[in-house]
């Protein structure tokens, strides 16, 4: 097959390969977020790749712990500093321990013990500076499409999303799957009305059943909440119903078989296309609807995505702290209005000036350059959104009945 080198990746000691070499500062509760942000800003201002992420609540949430463990061991992350406040449930020591076990540089402390704001910031800067020095020595190794995990998401959809932007990402998904890579999509709440189609793509009977279960759960969840994943902006853009939006959204997953249904913070165990289920298994929590696009992209990243494609029609600006986000639109008006934010214009598919195969090739070139270190517009702008909301899922047992 195609043995063309994608980029020189960063070799992690656990065998994974990253396209970025970040230090991640993790807060275990809202109270230590300020100190973490200040340390990160110090380094961001001098052009270093240092980011923050964390849990806001004092309380434990199993899904959030699983997510944070995945971020602390993400291929794009080389070093992790976890800062706790001192009285929350989430243990900074346990997060740092897993990061260390995966071969990352790792450290942790409580700001109460460090002596408060100023002393914690100074201590954090010293630790992160040391990590950055060590990360300069991370070996570079050839990375192939087989090593890559991509994610697909859409946000701020209009009628062009389904006809151009998502169709293009579907073509990129097909390419990646055909060349031994891995691709993850989600947004089953934007698959409403398409049960038969989605189930038909399951690779075997078990996966077909998993897709059907996840679909039924999503319909129950949205019905119980009384809100579906379509909003006034979509309607202004010409999308009338969730079914119409769904069909446009699901084309971004391409046409290859679905290999598995993943729960949040589960990694694919084989190559190909996977469907991520982000809907809670129990409890009617609005989590899924809050800050949906950035937080959903963080869930794709918790599945291991090195890079996420975000397709928009109305326009979008967001990024994530861990993986680069490539923003695509098929709406020429939106692209012209928001060129600083949007990385790729797919309008040529609609006016017939560019074929799907030519545009796919142009996008793969863009993908390679970003993997090689070229910054996306979200990275240039300093976008790093996404909040970890409580969720309730069992990664092993998928219940068949829901009582929302």
């Amino acid at each position: 097959m195609n043995e063309k080198i994608l980029c020189q990746g960063y070799q992690r000691r656990d065998g994974t390969k990253g396209i970025r070499n970040k230090v991640l500062i993790v807060f275990t509760v809202e109270c230590s977020k300020y100190v973490c942000r200040k340390i990160a800003e110090y380094f961001q201002n001098i052009g270093e790749d240092v980011e923050t992420i964390g849990s806001h609540s004092c309380l434990h949430n199993q899904v959030n712990i699983r997510r944070m463990l995945k971020y602390c061991t993400h291929p794009n992350v080389g070093g992790v500093l976890v800062i706790g406040h001192g009285c929350e449930y989430t243990y900074p020591s346990m997060l740092a321990k897993e990061a260390e076990r995966s071969g990352r540089e790792a450290a942790w402390f409580y700001q109460q013990e460090a002596g408060g704001t100023k002393k914690s910031i100074i201590r954090g800067i010293t630790i992160v500076q040391d990590m950055l020095d060590k990360l300069k020595n991370v070996p570079r190794i050839p990375m192939y499409i087989q090593d890559l995990v991509i994610g697909g998401e859409c946000g701020g959809s209009d009628f062009t999303s389904g006809l151009a932007g998502n169709a293009l990402i579907g073509s990129v998904f097909d390419y990646v799957a055909d060349h031994g890579g891995t691709a993850v999509f989600e947004e089953l709440s934007e698959g409403i009305g398409l049960k038969d189609y989605l189930v038909s793509r399951g690779i075997d009977d078990k996966v077909k059943q998993d897709i059907a279960n996840a679909y039924d759960k999503t319909v129950d969840f949205c019905s119980a909440y009384g809100q579906f994943s379509i909003a006034p902006g979509n309607m202004d853009g010409g999308l009338t119903t969730i079914e119409e939006k769904s069909m446009g959204a699901m084309v971004k997953s391409g046409r290859r078989p679905i290999q598995s249904v993943l729960k949040i913070a589960q990694s694919p165990t084989r190559k190909g296309v996977h469907l991520l289920d982000v809907i809670p298994d129990e409890k009617l929590e609005p989590a899924h609807f809050i800050a949906a696009d950035p937080s959903d992209m963080l869930d794709l990243i918790a599945a291991g995505c090195h890079i996420v494609f975000l397709v928009t029609g109305r326009g979008h600006v967001v990024g994530t702290p861990i993986s680069p986000v490539v923003k695509v639109t098929g709406n020429p008006r939106t692209y012209n209005r928001m060129q600083d934010d949007i990385d790729f214009c797919a309008a040529g598919l609609l006016d017939g000036t560019e074929s799907m195969s030519d545009m796919t090739e142009r996008m793969l070139k863009k993908l390679r350059s970003i993997c090689c270190g070229r910054l996306t517009n979200a990275e240039k702008m300093g976008h790093r959104e996404g909040i970890l909301y409580f969720n309730y899922q069992d990664p092993v047992n998928v219940p068949k009945c829901w009582q929302f």
């Binding site: 809100q227 006034p232 009338t240 119903t241 079914e243 446009g248």
Partner: protein, 116 residues
């Protein structure tokens, strides 16, 4: 000066709506895309905003609206060929809340923006 063609795009051959590729005014439109079974010309009876849908045939209340070859909703009143198809004359078969939005402002009627 000759007016440029007003293009409406048909995604799938079984669709009964087409998508306006620009702000369409009432009058002649040109159908592109999967329009193999139809003539390329039609008349829009109303304004069709950029990205919105125009009916390709007469429809009765309860008829399925087809786009991408799948049902994207149900007609809530009689729709004539050439009319604008949107929240005012169709609704989701699943999403009961969006069917109650104000069809013009797209504002939700069940949430008050009112101080107490």
């Amino acid at each position: 000066m000759k007016k440029m063609d007003q293009i409406c795009y048909i995604v799938h051959k079984t669709d009964n709506v087409a998508t306006a590729m620009e702000d369409v005014t009432a009058g002649d439109i040109k159908l592109t895309g999967e329009n193999k079974n139809r003539k390329g010309e039609m008349i829009a009876l109303q304004q069709i905003p950029f990205g919105h849908k125009v009916a390709l045939c007469d429809m009765e209340e309860g008829d399925q609206i087809l786009k991408y070859g799948v049902c994207i909703g149900i007609a809530t009143k009689k729709i004539r060929k050439g009319m604008h198809v949107h929240l005012h004359n169709m609704k989701s078969a699943y999403d009961f809340r969006s069917a109650q939005l104000d069809p013009v402002t797209v504002h939700a009627k069940d949430i008050e923006y009112k101080m107490y």
